[in-house]
Symmetry: C2
Subunit: 144 residues, 2 copies
DNA sequence: CGATATTAGTTACATTTGAAACCATTTTCA
DNA sequence: TGAAAATGGTTTCAAATGTAACTAATATCG
């Protein structure tokens, strides 16, 4: 018999949605960003000059989703795009000044949220938890 | 600086999607079910006679999503619906014979998948992990 | 009792999402 | 070389989803 409330995939899904929505509230209203857009900003902020495909890989997002988020962010002026000379199909992505400002405004709030959550675990417990999470992620990848 | 790959909300989201998609593969093709539909079947299988609203609560799903999943499942004959005499607005949901058969075919595969994943953790580690997960879920709920 | 608020469930509309087809460019390799 | 395959990125179409408004039935409370 399967008890959905105890079922790991279900529990992870609920927790993940809850947290994502919790954080999203800090930037949806204030900056009009969707979760996908925010993720693109986070990746480009961390790795300036990445291509859309690399963003998709790093963010585990669909390349169509990235393409759409990028074009919205170009429209709203948060992102800039320059040719990658080695390959004329690809373009390098950078945060604009405004994009950088938004990035820098969101990051502390996001980290604070994460910090708050992880604070509910003792340091040792937290270390173990993150470690187990990593191992599960690897197992899930193998299994996929 | 924020390193998305190390950021807990992001890691949970990736892991959760990976696992959900992994399991979904066992019933999407074979039975043409979506994740939502499968969740409704799982809840109704576990609690025969629940109402749609109760399903929504137990599955942490939107009531609109439940309503739509239920109507598809009624159309495809996997679900039956009978009046709840105490309240003529609500209807009780049950698996049909076919729905029950599908339920019984999926559950072992789902549990096996979960089991495989959790096997990568030592029993003690697993216990701690699930415990921490529960505490995080509570913290996230408070925070929300 | 009866007006008002609440609840179960559905419908309508706009937005998001995913799969597949699609260019343009680059790579591969006979 | 040059034909076929692969890659970066966009577009298109159908399906999934969220929000708000809606109907019908029940609960609340003066």
């Amino acid at each position: 018999m399967l008890d959905l409330e105890q079922f790991l995939p279900y529990r992870l899904s609920v927790l993940s949605n809850r947290i994502s929505n919790g954080i999203a509230r800090t930037y949806e209203k204030r900056f009009g960003l969707s979760v996908t857009e925010w993720r693109v900003i986070a990746i480009v902020g961390r790795y300036p000059g990445v291509t859309a495909t690399e963003v998709a890989e790093r963010a585990a997002m669909d390349k169509v989703a990235v393409s759409r988020a990028v074009s919205r962010l170009l429209d709203s002026g948060l992102l800039e795009r320059h040719d990658k000379h080695a390959d004329r199909r690809a373009k390098r992505l950078y945060l604009s000044a405004e994009g950088g400002a938004i990035h820098d405004a969101i990051v502390p709030a996001a980290l604070a949220y994460e910090h708050d959550l992880l604070e509910t675990l003792e340091p040792e417990e937290r270390r173990r938890f993150l470690d187990s999470l990593e191992r599960l992620a690897e197992a899930a990848e193998r299994h996929a």
